[in-house]
């Protein structure tokens, strides 16, 4: 275990700016997102969590895949920038592992995603002050979970302890980092175990998948979907949602092919040109969203597509609560 003073951290980050683009939590009018920063002052590591999940670092909401002119195609995949994603929360780091399963599977590699992923070092920040909507521990994560991180930082007051998790992480540490004392490690352990205890919100996911296996035709979905207004907030703010649309933006035969986030909650998502829509109403769309996360994804990748970050709960305009939904599913 290494340590660095908060002032040292400032210098450390500044020193990395020469070689890396630093993406860190920064606020615009009180809304946090991961932005490229040019000095340490812009970074606010005391943040709770970002509004938009950091998946956008690897899978931007809108991304040009290639430009074209008169049939000549120029891909953007070759642009490789070394980046450091600083201060990401452990739940979001876990979400990236789930996204890897989709974008870097055995059959196809999404080069736009994998290039960014491979060229980014992820420095996480443990959550010592989780929210009541956090339920990461229900999915095997935790406020100090290391999965998906290269380095985990732990705030112990006047300094950070840094746990190096991967070789990639080890490479960026510099002389500013010292070996932590036994007391400091103990303090970190204490903060960690208190933080874990703080996560009081738990959902039972045992048996959800099997229950959903038998629930496709259930009337539950009619009931569940009626209050949903059908916006894309939950999908767009979800760190594991990965649906996208591909569209051309062009004038005549010159333009670009762009991919944009899309949401299964939108009616046009599955609308055929013929006018047929396999998911014509909110009921089918809501069912798809829940099924995809807690049944289909489990079938395909052995894990549910949720990390318990709570963003969908906090931001839903009509206060739909996925914890409640999961509970109700078990009760059906």
């Amino acid at each position: 275990m290494k340590k660095i003073s908060k002032k040292g951290m400032n210098e450390f980050i500044q020193s990395l700016m020469a070689d890396y683009i630093i993406l860190a939590p920064a606020s615009t009018d009180g809304i946090f997102s991961f932005k490229p920063v040019s000095n340490f002052e812009q970074i606010d590591l005391s943040y709770q969590n970002s509004k938009k999940p950091p998946k956008e670092v690897f899978f931007p909401q809108s991304e040009t895949m290639f430009n074209y002119k008169n049939g000549k195609v120029e891909s953007t995949e070759k642009v490789k920038q070394k980046k450091i994603l600083l201060g990401i929360r452990p739940c979001d780091a876990r979400a990236n592992i789930l996204l890897d399963k989709v974008f870097a599977g055995p059959d196809h590699k999404d080069v736009y995603y994998t290039n960014k992923r491979e060229n980014t070092i992820i420095i996480g920040l443990g959550c010592s002050k989780s929210l009541s909507t956090c339920f990461c521990t229900s999915f095997g994560g935790g406020p100090f979970s290391k999965e998906g991180l290269d380095i985990l930082l732990m705030d112990i007051g006047d300094k950070y302890l840094a746990q190096v998790i991967t070789d990639k992480g080890r490479e960026v540490l510099n002389h500013k980092f010292r070996e932590a004392t036994r007391e400091e490690v103990r303090l970190a352990e204490k903060i960690k175990s208190e933080a874990e205890k703080r996560i009081s919100s738990r959902v039972e996911i045992e048996g959800i998948k099997e229950k959903l296996d038998r629930m496709f035709e259930d009337l539950f979905w009619n009931k569940l979907s009626q209050e949903c207004i059908g916006c894309g907030t939950c999908s767009y703010l979800c760190p594991t949602c990965h649906c996208f649309d591909i569209a051309d933006e062009a004038v005549n035969s010159e333009g670009k092919r762009v991919r944009n986030w899309d949401s299964c909650m939108f009616p046009l998502f599955t609308l055929h040109t013929s006018g047929h829509n396999p998911r014509p109403t909110g009921k089918e769309r809501m069912r798809q969203r829940v099924m995809h996360k807690f049944n289909y994804f489990v079938e395909n990748y052995k894990e549910p597509a949720c990390v318990g970050c709570g963003r969908c709960i906090i931001n839903c305009p009509v206060n739909m609560d996925i914890r409640k939904v999961l509970k109700e599913i078990l009760e059906v």
């Binding site: 040009t64 120029e74 004038v251 333009g255 670009k256």
Partner: protein, 141 residues
Amino acid sequence: MKEREPKILAFLCNWCSYAGADLAGVSRIQYPPNVRVIRVPCSSRINPFFIVKALQQGIDGVLVAGCHPGDCHYISGNYVARRKFAIIKSFLEYIGIEKDRVQFTWISAAEGLRFAEVIKEVTEKVRHLGPIRKPVKIRRG
């Protein structure tokens, strides 16, 4: 460097304003060549979206002209249009698009001279404003 000539798009109603433009043409009345005309059946055919879209595509100014009130070929099209234009005009100004970028007027089929005058005036006003900024789409690649 020579100043960029403003690009102006004019939506002209078929029955009055377009005929007015035609009259200007056959009467050989000179007017600035900055204007590009789109003929529409009636001024009420103009969805304010057309105007906003034109500005997005880099048009510096938009003129919409229809029959004088009371003269609409479709009886009341221009009255309906007038309400739409009143709102969109002040709204665009409110969000920072100069009011002279989007102009509305009435031109009859007999007003060839007036058509030329209007085009001159619109062109001068838009030239004075300079090239459009937001919400122009910047195309890369």
